[in-house]
């Protein structure tokens, strides 16, 4: 009965939009599904849109960091987009710096970031 968040694909990019507060098991499912899908669909980029999330605690924060690491190992890049300012302030005070996680203000800027990374990778 554990829920799964749909993962969309556009070209080489996987896009996940988290629309509601997630149970821990759903967070873990998403982490696994993304790892599987990066390989299954030969994705080079992952965008996780958390613009709808009112809070990100250490559990979700750790998932974002883990997905970023997993994707790096699988030769893909992850960009987290849409983090609310209050969430960013809270995460820093909580002590979660998300150092290895690439971010962008919105989906469009996130896609641009992935495209820039892809074209510089070709040179």
């Amino acid at each position: 009965m554990s829920e799964r968040i749909p993962i969309l694909r556009i070209g080489d990019t996987l896009i996940v939009s988290v629309q509601f507060d997630l149970e821990d098991q759903t967070v873990l499912n998403l982490q696994e599904d993304l790892a599987d899908q990066i390989v299954a669909r030969s994705a080079t980029g992952v965008i996780i849109d958390i613009g709808a999330l009112e809070i990100v605690d250490s559990f979700v924060g750790r998932m974002l960091a883990t997905v970023a690491s997993i994707s790096r190992v699988l030769d893909a890049r992850t960009v987290v987009v849409g983090m609310r300012p209050a969430v960013a302030i809270t995460l820093v005070e909580l002590g979660l710096s998300l150092g290895g996680v690439s971010t962008a203000l919105d989906l469009e800027k996130g896609l641009a970031k992935l495209n820039r990374a892809a074209s510089s990778g070709l040179q």
Binding site: D21, E23, S58, P85, A86, L94, G95, L96
Partner: protein
Amino acid sequence: MTAPWTAGEEPRVYPIARSGDLVHIRQAIRTLSQECRLSLVDQTKMITAASELARNTLIYGGGGTVRAGTVSRGGKRGVAAIFEDSGPGIPDVEQAMTDGWTSGGGLGLGLSGARRLVDDFDLNTVPGEGTVVTIIKWVR
């Protein structure tokens, strides 16, 4: 620390028995924080702290309850939550409150981070008997 509950507004008790309960607790704290008119950032901090502590109650305390409601003191209003379990307790509180220390597979940020996110933080634990953590966020 006993929370100075607002007269006439009984705190509500929520179970912490399974991971789905964390979603309900975050929602309840959010509603209280909005009723109290905490700023958006303070709401976010209070909900996040509550989420961390509720997960600790579930994972380390073996489940328990949280009592949540509004508090008043000296003309100020705020939101309080008291997390209680009858689990193993915390043998070394100073160590548990250290950033990065975890006995499990966590990041060790829950307790220390929650303390930074709220205004009042009180941890009462007796090895073998359980743990009670009280947090309050006051309206500025």
